[in-house]
């Protein structure tokens, strides 16, 4: 089973730089507006008061007392645990007891069976924990204010943001406790449910992906329009994969960087692929399509064609370079001799991997047939990690998502009543979970499922023009002054929409089920780091907003 998306590494520096700039600009604008208002109201003394208050804010945060935060955390944890949140375990138990209802028949293909079990457990955990922490976080502060129990806290020498932090950490403690317990039960359930013969599929494969490029059927790096060569579209609606034609010079080439022989398990270079097959004629029906790897050292130019392989579609195709290229001598002893195109014996470590870069060329050898591939469809497999490792990382991602919900819930509870805060948090969560793809599509000028298709007429006014005039999205509208005005106005809306898109965190990225269920380790750079960065990136401003909201709030107003 392969990934149906492209896991790209997160650029932490660029991400945080952009985040910092946005935060500074927003804070600067906010401060400037406040300064203007204060100046208009009180003149120079008003401005001085704003400076004092600004310094107070910095003082407050710098002088945060961990002891007070801890005390509030413990208090919140105890209070929340008394609110019968443990009922969630009963629901969890019931769902697991009747899991078979939602699962396809047990006599399934092993890979699919494992995928279904793992997906079920992780999704159930998400669905159960999210509502619990959401309700706790959204109702905590408003309830304290209503019951006036918060008054006893604010009269103590405690800063407002410490109250918020205490609440957040307390609710996160509850969320973490629930997550650990249900996660442990889920793990045991998976181990018990997966039949003994399938347990090999419970692993965490560690992939090293490369960057993919193509050669045309004539072997050129550019097509007839001088664009970079791509594969062929064989008619799939979702153009995730591009295909190379069999028995031509068309190639898919992966450049793998930073790999050396010491990283490999027992020095074994193992490729795993999940190419798709497309036949233009029946060919040999009882035989899968034939492919071939060629290893190339991009610096020295050494090329080593390997033994061909049959591509088993929608399955894991494992190719151990040394095993598959072992030859038996006259005495019957098998020995591995990799030879380049000139017949010279090649050493894997010295001649191919020593420069830290390796090109893997993939060719389809079946005439008239096509092999389809996307970047994550081929990788070098490093020694596996345990299933527990990837499963724990999956839970950690869920925890990060819970963190965002808790922070948002507590923040909104600082200025809204319980039901409204719940609705706001739920709205942000649902939009971030379900509408992100829609936002992505509407703000992109390319069709997301097929980047070769341009999206025209996305704006409101251009759509209003195209609909009655029956101009399809495939053709451009005429270039007139009216159209230019329409496009300019639409650009404003679309840019505003782009901004709105970024106000809602993409909660889908916290779902690491595709990695865990497909027996992949959850990668740090492609999954955990962006999740962590997103969590920090959204939580910090939200906490500051909560601090101001609680500080400026009249607590007597229920």
């Amino acid at each position: 089973m392969s990934l149906s998306f492209d896991p790209k590494p997160f650029d932490i520096v660029a991400g945080f730089t952009q985040w910092g700039v946005v935060c500074l600009v927003v804070a600067g604008i906010g401060w400037a507006v406040a300064a203007l208002l204060m100046f208009l109201q009180g003149g120079a003394p008003g401005l001085a008061r704003l400076v004092d208050q600004t310094l107070d804010v910095f003082r407050d945060f710098v002088q945060t007392s961990p002891r007070r935060v801890w005390a509030l955390t413990v208090h919140t944890f105890r209070e929340a645990s008394r609110r019968r949140v443990l009922w969630v375990f009963a629901v969890f138990a019931v769902l697991f007891m009747f899991a078979g209802w939602f699962m396809p028949e047990m006599k399934q293909d092993p890979e699919m069976a494992v995928k279904n079990y793992v997906s079920f457990v992780l999704r159930t955990i998400s669905w159960l924990t999210v509502p619990v922490v959401l309700l706790l976080a959204c109702w905590g502060l408003p309830e304290d204010i209503r019951a006036r129990s918060l008054h006893t806290v604010v009269t103590k020498p405690v800063r407002r943001h410490e109250i918020i932090l205490g609440r957040i950490f307390g609710f996160l403690g509850i969320g973490l406790a629930i997550l650990v317990i249900v996660g442990a039960v889920g793990h045991i359930w998976i181990l018990r449910q997966v039949p003994a013969g399938y347990s090999a599929n419970l692993a965490a494969r560690v992939p090293v992906f490369g960057e993919l490029r193509y050669l045309t059927r004539e072997g050129a790096t550019e097509d007839e329009n001088s664009n970079q060569a791509t594969g062929v579209n064989v008619g799939d609606e979702v153009m995730f994969r591009q295909f190379v034609e069999g028995n031509t010079k068309a190639r898919a080439i992966w450049r793998v960087k930073g790999i050396n022989i010491n990283q490999l398990a027992s020095g074994q270079l193992i490729f795993e692929s999940a190419f798709q097959s497309f036949r233009t004629h029946k060919g040999k029906i009882d035989q899968e399509l034939l492919g071939q790897y060629t290893l190339v050292n991009p610096k020295s130019g050494v090329r080593v064609p390997l033994q061909p392989f049959f591509n088993r579609e929608f399955r894991r195709n494992t190719y151990n370079v040394l095993d598959r290229n072992a030859r038996k001598n006259a005495a019957g002893d098998s020995s591995v001799e990799l030879k380049d195109e000139q017949g010279r014996v090649i050493d894997l470590g010295k001649d191919l991997l020593s420069d830290g870069e390796l090109d893997v060329e993939v060719a389809c050898l079946s005439p008239g047939q096509f092999l389809g591939m996307a970047r994550p469809d081929l990788f070098i497999r490093l020694p596996d990690r345990s299933f527990f490792t990837s499963y724990s990382k999956g839970l950690f991602s869920i925890f990060l998502m819970l963190t965002m919900i808790v922070v948002l819930g507590v923040t909104s509870g600082c200025f809204l009543k319980g039901p409204v805060a719940t609705m706001l948090t739920l709205f942000v969560f649902l939009v971030g979970r379900w509408a992100h793809a829609f936002f992505e599509q509407i703000t992109s000028d390319k069709f997301v499922d097929n980047p070769k298709i341009q999206m025209r007429g996305r704006g409101l006014f251009e759509s209003l023009y195209r609909l009655p005039t029956h101009i399809s999205p495939q053709i451009d509208v005429e270039d007139t002054t009216t159209q230019r005005i329409i496009k300019a106005v639409d650009n404003v809306e679309l840019n505003a929409l782009w901004g709105v898109k970024h106000l809602f965190p993409d909660f889908t990225q916290f779902d690491t089920t595709p990695y865990v269920a497909n027996s992949f380790d959850v990668p740090w750079a492609e999954a955990l780091l962006p999740n962590l960065a997103t969590t920090i990136g959204f939580c910090v401003p939200w906490i500051i907003v909560g601090y101001f909201a609680l500080k400026s709030r009249e607590l007597e107003a229920k």
Binding site: S4, K107, K115, N116, E313
Partner: protein, 455 residues
């Protein structure tokens, strides 16, 4: 009541409750559980008995899946929304080739729509034909064909009175396994399942519910069951006209016999299967009564019956009221006379020998043993000619014409190779009349000949 004390009022209430309990119990007592998730016939209160007798309960449709009922209750009025959402999800997953997810989604869809025939029909077909075709390895394709068959069987369990679901099961077992491009491998896999891990003895009991060794024979059992359901529950099927629907058990036997021939099995097994097919066609199916505007008719008529009806029809002024007219209409609808003759002729030993000779001739051609091929082809064509003299109706049959024309092409190619020339149309050779009268089809036949040459 106002004059009663509190205690007296309570007594009145309790008495009222007790009195009301009697009719409530009599009316609403739940039925006792019976076998196969059904209720015990005649058990329970009056309402339950009425529900059983009027077949209003869900159990009257088939086995009740408690999950399905629970889900539908829990969703309150949102079943439509949930179902639509799941259908869209399934289509998207299929578009993205996420097969494991698709399998789960389909499971959820049928939980919400367990008694909607089209759901079972659409998704069963989708799994057996569309999803299976997406996979490259033949064993994988067979897995999905089986998933489609199992899906139909699951549908049948939930809806025992839908004859369509029995028929779909039989049709997929017969047509998809026996007629796909991969029919050779599929038929072999049906006999011995390729998934040896799960089925070490090669038998997938969920697919071979009747334990037959051949897919067509297994399909026949499902067709028989489909006809039985129509009769038992008086439940009309909505796939095709009744005379066509009812011929499928016999048709499965014909397909079985034809499949044996395609596999080169021309011995007693093949001949006997044609005899069985003839019996089923003429003696069983042909004697079945069909409703038509003048009453009931059957298609297999003995000579005395024909004479009797000819006499009666002669007195009938309106052609549309004549018995033999309706028999002919129904026979035309299902090509009755052709299949009857075909079964009859194929059951003859000489015909089986003729087929075997043509098959052996082609094998010899492939081994480049052209002398043997020439001799075998000539012998086979001569026998074929003799059989067609006995059954001239078959001279117009497309399959017969194709077999003869392709055999002629192979034979002539052998002659060209060995003797340097093929016989001219002036010379005498077996089945000369067929060869000459169908020259217009020659280009198509040459394509078929060339395709077989490449095998």
């Amino acid at each position: 009541m106002n004059n009663l004390t509190s205690f007296q009022r309570k007594l009145v209430y309790i008495t009222g409750i007790l009195i009301l309990l009697i009719p409530i119990t009599w009316l609403g007592m739940p039925p006792e559980p019976g076998a196969d998730n059904r209720v015990k016939p005649g058990s329970g209160g009056k309402l339950s008995q009425l529900r059983q007798s009027e077949e209003l309960g869900e159990t009257s449709l088939g086995n009740v899946d408690p999950t399905s009922s629970t889900m539908n209750l829990l969703l309150l009025g949102f079943r439509g929304i949930a179902t639509s959402s799941l259908w869209m999800e399934a289509q998207d997953q299929q578009k993205r080739k996420e097969w494991a997810e698709l399998d789960s989604t389909i499971k959820s869809i049928v939980l919400l729509q367990p008694h909607f025939l089209k759901v079972w029909h659409f998704q069963g077909w989708n799994l057996a034909y569309n999803v299976s075709a997406e996979w490259d390895a033949v064993a994988d394709r067979y897995y999905w064909v089986k998933r489609g068959v199992k899906f139909y069987i699951e549908g049948k369990d939930r809806n025992e009175k839908f004859p369509e679901l029995y028929w779909f099961t039989g049709d997929t077992l017969g047509k998809k396994i026996g007629r796909a491009d991969e029919w050779k491998e599929f038929r072999q896999f049906f006999r011995s399942d390729p998934d040896k891990e799960q089925y070490p003895n090669g038998i997938d009991p969920d697919v071979k519910q009747y334990g037959k060794e051949d897919n067509y024979l297994e399909a026949r059992e499902w067709f028989l069951k489909a006809n039985e359901v129509v009769q038992t529950y008086k439940n009309r099927q909505h796939i095709m006209a009744e005379p066509l629907f009812r011929f499928y058990p016999a048709r499965a036997l014909i397909d079985y016999a034809m499949a044996l021939q395609r596999e080169g099995k021309f011995g007693e097994e093949s001949r006997a299967s044609w005899e069985d097919a003839f019996h089923e066609w003429a003696e069983v199916y042909g004697r079945q009564e069909f409703e038509c505007p003048i009453g009931t008719i059957h298609m297999e008529l003995q000579e005395d019956e024909v004479a009797e009806w000819q006499a009666k029809d002669a007195e009938e002024p309106q052609e549309v009221r004549r018995y033999l007219n309706w028999v002919a209409r129904y026979q035309d609808m299902c090509n009755y006379r052709y299949w009857r003759s075909r079964c009859k002729i194929e059951g003859e030993r000489d015909m089986a020998d003729a087929h075997r000779d043509l098959f052996d001739g082609e094998e010899a051609y492939r081994k480049a043993d052209f002398d043997t091929a020439i001799e075998t082809y000539k012998r086979g064509l001569t026998k074929y000619e003799a059989m067609l003299k006995l059954y001239p109706d078959l001279k117009d049959d497309d399959n017969t014409i194709e077999e003869i024309m392709v055999a002629q092409l192979f034979w002539r190619d052998c002659l060209r190779i060995v003797e340097g020339a093929e016989p001219s149309d002036d010379e005498d050779f077996p089945l000369k009349d067929v060869w000459i009268s169908h020259q217009n089809r020659k280009p198509q036949m040459v394509e078929e000949f060339q395709r077989r040459q490449r095998r």
